[in-house]
């Protein structure tokens, strides 16, 4: 499995420049525009819907989780389809003594490494601009990574069954983007119409945002049970998705 991660790292060394903008700059621009720009107006409106914190402090951890989700989801599509169908590098690994499950796990592990870097940079910036009010914010990094993997693992399992990118635009358009907007990242889900709130609860991003926010704001200590529920839900999705990825990747490699 380590060899598979090493392969992805070698690729990344050649290609990382292209992803700098989408991975690091674009999320920080969001944070600046919405958190500071729009936040100034929100904070001035004087209501207390956010529980007495600035909009920037509310938004930043949500955006951290949502950013990691997007990157993780993306990394679970092209590189998986590519390795199995276009460049067929996974087949080359399988011809060597690497087992299909190592190829699956190695690729998921690489996604975790990639999004950890993103989460660290984002959290550092968050702390610098004063959007993190608790030392617990350090744990927001693994929380965000867990959120990302809850998307990456099931999506990777699906990617291994696909030979083209056709269906992925639908996943992003009707899955990732609505979740990004309506899972409590930009406003509390309590502001959603009542019938939509249960929908938000089944969204993995809702659990990720709540967990990450609880840690960044330090409110996690006050509601440990809720935090445990978020972690359990996310872990269950990651485990299920990982097992599924190992199965679908193996099936494809054996078929040829």
């Amino acid at each position: 499995m380590a060899r598979v991660v090493e392969h992805r790292a070698m690729q990344y060394r050649r290609t990382f420049r292209a992803s700098l903008f989408s991975s690091f700059l674009s999320p920080l621009m969001f944070l600046g525009a919405m958190g500071i720009g729009l936040g100034t107006y929100v904070d001035r409106s004087g209501n207390d819907l956010l529980g007495g914190i600035s909009y920037l402090a509310f938004l930043a951890p949500g955006l951290l989780a949502a950013t990691v989700m997007q990157s993780a989801a993306f990394e679970a599509t092209f590189p998986i389809v590519g390795g199995l169908t276009w460049s067929r590098t996974f087949h080359a690994m399988y011809a060597a003594p690497i087992r299909p499950r190592d190829i699956a796990l190695g690729n998921l592990a690489w996604i975790a490494v990639r999004v950890t870097l993103i989460a660290i940079v984002f959290t550092a910036v968050m702390t610098v601009v004063g959007a993190a009010s608790s030392p617990l914010v350090v744990f927001a990094i693994p929380a965000a990574v867990l959120t990302g993997m809850a998307f990456a693992a099931p999506i990777a399992a699906f990617s291994a069954t696909q030979r083209t990118m056709e269906k992925f635009s639908a996943i992003f358009r009707f899955g990732i983007t609505p979740l990004f907007l309506f899972s409590g990242t930009f406003f509390p889900i309590e502001s959603l119409p009542a019938f939509l709130q249960p929908v938000a609860w089944i969204s993995p991003l809702y659990h990720g945002v709540a967990l990450t926010r609880g840690l960044a704001l330090g409110t996690a200590a006050a509601e440990p049970l809720a935090m445990v529920v978020h972690v359990v839900v996310l872990c269950a999705i990651v485990v299920g998705g990982t097992v599924a990825t190992a199965i679908t990747v193996e099936r494809r490699l054996v078929r040829g």
Binding site: R3, E6, H7, M10, Q11, R14, T15, S87, R88, T89, H91, A92, M93, Y94, A95, A96, P97, I98, R99, L253, V254, G256
Partner: protein
């Protein structure tokens, strides 16, 4: 068929591969001895690639016995693969990496140290005549260069057994001859080669022994020379008649040779002495437009055994 199961590098009995209701490989038997160059010849869809994938331990055997390097692929797949070099039909190079990086990372898959990978990569770049391109991306390389790189990559673990699935398909003659020369060198060094091809000249150049596959079964086996002796005559005389004339020759060709085959555009006469056939034809008053006397080739054997009609 030479060899006991223990002395064979590959030992197959009743080897079968099924995909649902379709049988791709139907109970074939063969042995490959160490140091041998062994070929699978056959038209597209004959089951060559399915056989190669079972030998490469990436596709499970549906029925029958298969032992590779005296190990069972269903139990020791990764251990066997560690000692194989595989050149797949479709290139599986990493286009995001350089030529040299492709070799280095492949060595890492076999658990070689970085230093060892680097040393072998440089050696193999030399062998594949790619040293000058070592820091280039893979994508702009020509087809021949990519194939050479794929072969070099397959050698990074110093394999005992090389599996080559249509190694020169789609290459120009220069690139093919260079590849053959490199493969011949490997054979000289004692590496066992197993290849599939539908190029007869490739089989004649490289294979000590080969089997002809057709419709999932083995239909003939032997050295290229033995196969020609068994299934063809020493020489072939090709007579081409003006348009419309060939159809009027009923009865006039029979008896001229051991075997007469009429193709739409010419007549093939299989005999030990081709010139004698020409003389006999002239004596019967036949006036072919062109006459060609040549040695029988594997292609004659192949077409005789697998038929002339297109499979697809």
């Amino acid at each position: 068929m030479p060899g006991t199961p223990e002395s064979s590098l590959i030992h197959a009995r009743g080897l079968t591969k099924r995909f649902g209701s379709m049988t791709a490989v139907d109970g074939i038997d063969f042995d490959v001895a160490p140091g041998e160059a062994f070929g699978f010849l056959g038209p597209n869809g004959a089951g060559k690639t399915s056989t190669m994938r079972m030998i490469g331990c990436v596709s499970p055997v549906s029925a029958g016995t298969l032992r590779i390097l005296n190990l069972d692929p269903s139990l020791h797949g990764p251990q066997i693969r560690a000692r194989l070099g595989v050149v797949p039909q479709q290139d599986t190079l990493d286009s995001e990496l350089t030529v040299r990086e492709n070799l280095v990372i492949y060595g890492r898959y076999f658990g070689l140290s970085r230093a060892e990978c680097a040393r072998r990569a440089d050696e193999l770049l030399e062998f594949a005549q790619l040293t000058e391109r070592r820091n280039d991306q893979v994508e702009p390389l020509s087809g021949g260069m990519k194939r050479r790189l794929t072969i070099a990559r397959a050698l990074i673990n110093e394999p005992q057994l090389m599996l080559l699935d249509e190694p020169t398909a789609g290459l120009d003659p220069q690139a093919r001859h260079l590849l053959w020369e490199r493969l011949y060198r490997l054979k000289q060094r004692g590496t066992t080669l197993v290849l599939t091809t539908h190029y007869m000249d490739e089989a004649e150049q490289l294979c000590d022994r080969l089997v002809v596959m057709d419709k999932a079964r083995i239909v003939a086996e032997g050295s290229p020379r033995q196969l020609i002796a068994q299934h063809a005559t020493r020489e072939v005389t090709e007579l081409r008649f003006p348009v419309g004339v060939q159809e009027t020759l009923d009865g006039q060709l029979e008896g001229l040779a051991e075997r007469v085959e009429r193709l739409p555009d010419r007549v093939l006469l299989y005999a030990h002495d081709g010139e004698a056939v020409v003389a006999a034809a002239h004596a019967r008053g036949l006036q072919p437009e062109t006459v060609l006397v040549r040695r029988s080739t594997l292609e004659d054997v192949f077409l005789r055994l697998t038929g002339r009609s297109l499979v697809e």
